[in-house]
């Protein structure tokens, strides 16, 4: 018995959305940029200080419940974070790719999750951990990797360049990363309406947030204090925040609208950094997922001079 037409249509839409053929080079470039960015952003990370913190502060989250208490061995944490940073670098260049990427994902989960077990979840590092997990199970090292170059040299001594044919395998990891990134913002907008209702969009609420952060955080500018003097600006900012955050959901499906949504979200996070002193730097890896890296790469290398042979690697 054939499935109903609506189900077939749904399956086709699902397949088109996640599994439209993409080149191995685009995913390879996303790998280089993502791991390179995260390596640069997290290079100063040092979790060894948490070994000095009293167990009274220990409030484990997620899989950290399996630990009996906070880690006590600073030397071990030091070794793990060196290993993690090395694995981010080797993942970026695609050397020992699968081992590197799995190590980067596993240690990223531990090292970025550990501080969240001391009383408060900071929502900066959740998305990068998810992205590391997605890339670790993907075929993102099929192109533009040291592993690929070494394999090609062994298999094709004539030095002829071989490129993988476009495949569904090279599309879904980026698509899923984009979807989860946009849902982060939709979740933030939805949480405001769920917890406070339309009252969140009042001028007085926005003013209190801006002024309160002057006492509870260390904003790099006095912009919050300055803008809080205008009731009209407070009102506009409150409504705009919700509209921009909720726009992330339609941006999942409307390609042209996505550019405006992303620009709005980036502007919002820049203003949050300037006015509230909260820095979402790791989210740069999320914005980078939307850029056409292969086009930049082609322009940079002057392709296509001669179309190389394409073989299917899937």
């Amino acid at each position: 018995m054939n499935p109903p037409a609506s189900l077939t249509g749904l399956a086709q839409s699902w397949h088109c959305y996640w599994f439209a053929p993409e080149t191995a080079e685009q995913l390879g470039l996303v790998r280089v940029v993502t791991y390179g960015l995260l390596f640069a952003i997290y290079l100063p990370l040092d979790d060894r200080g948490w070994t000095q913190v009293s167990p009274v502060f220990w409030m484990p989250i997620s899989a950290f419940h399996i630990l009996s208490g906070p880690p006590r061995n600073a030397a071990m944490i030091g070794v793990l974070q060196i290993l993690w940073k090395v694995s981010l670098f080797t993942s970026a260049i695609g050397f020992l790719s699968r081992v590197s990427m799995i190590t980067a994902a596993a240690l990223g989960f531990f090292l970025l999750g550990l501080p969240n077990c001391f009383g408060k979840i900071h929502h900066l590092d959740g998305f990068p951990v998810l992205l590391l997990g997605i890339l670790a199970v993907s075929r993102c090292a099929d192109a533009l990797s040291v592993d690929r170059a070494l394999r090609s040299r062994r298999e094709m001594p004539s030095n002829r360049e071989v490129r993988a044919a476009p495949s569904a395998q090279y599309n879904w990891p980026v698509r899923l990363g984009q979807a989860l990134f946009l849902l982060v913002f939709f979740a933030a907008g939805y949480a405001k309406l769920r917890n406070s209702g339309p009252a969140w969009m009042s001028a007085s609420n926005m003013r209190s947030i801006w002024l309160g952060e002057l006492f509870t955080h260390t904003p790099p500018t006095a912009l919050g204090s300055f803008l809080a003097q205008s009731a009209w600006l407070c009102q506009f900012a409150a409504v705009a925040t919700i509209v921009v955050e909720l726009s992330a959901l339609p941006a999942l499906f409307a390609r042209r609208f996505r550019v405006f949504a992303l620009v709005g979200l980036f502007a919002l996070q820049t203003l949050i950094a300037l006015m509230l002193g909260v820095y979402f730097t790791p989210h740069l890896a999320g914005y980078a997922l939307f850029l056409p890296w292969e086009r930049y790469y082609t322009m940079l290398r002057g392709y296509p001079r001669r179309l190389p042979d394409r073989v299917s690697l899937s």
């Binding site: 502060f57 501080p115 900071h122 951990v129 989860l180 933030a188 917890n195 406070s196 947030i209 002024l211």
Partner: protein
């Protein structure tokens, strides 16, 4: 076909947990409901603040600068949670003793030398938020919640 099936399962799994957290407001890190700044704020700001007692009187202390690896937001949030926990008095005393040791480690790590603390005090502080404030204003109200002395922190 197997890789596509695996990919579909991964996609469905990720989306299901994400949507569940968004709908329920729960957190399954690294997934989450991103509830930051989602409550309604009033003109009355209540916060906790740590003050160090030196030979020259009390000085306000900040998370990032004085109690690494804590940052200010995490430190105050965890102190608020301890304040509301069972056995709060004992837990807050132990927390302040540990914070005083972290403060002293800061000096040992070669950071700019700060005045030695004779005691560490935790206050509940509050401000009335009105346009024109710049963050340097002292709190309108201050109430002592807990304190430990240097001798207690050594124990």
């Amino acid at each position: 076909m197997l890789p596509i099936r695996f990919a579909s399962l991964t996609i469905v799994g990720c989306l299901a947990i994400t949507c569940f957290d968004i709908a329920t407001g729960l957190e399954h890190w690294p997934f989450g409901s991103y509830p930051m700044y989602s409550v309604s704020y009033t003109e009355h700001l209540s916060w906790l603040r740590l003050y160090g007692v030196t030979d020259r009187g009390e000085i306000p202390l900040r998370g990032e600068r004085d109690f690494a690896p804590f940052d200010e937001a995490r430190l105050i949030m965890v102190l608020q949670r301890l304040q509301g926990a069972r056995g709060a008095d004992w837990k807050l005393d132990e927390a302040l003793r540990n914070l005083m040791r972290l403060y002293n480690n800061r000096n040992a790590r070669g950071w700019p030398v700060s005045a030695p603390l004779r005691a560490l005090r935790l206050y509940a502080v509050s401000w009335t938020l009105r346009p024109g404030l710049d963050g340097s204003e002292p709190p309108r109200e201050r109430m002592l919640i807990a304190q430990v002395t240097g001798d207690e922190a050594e124990r």
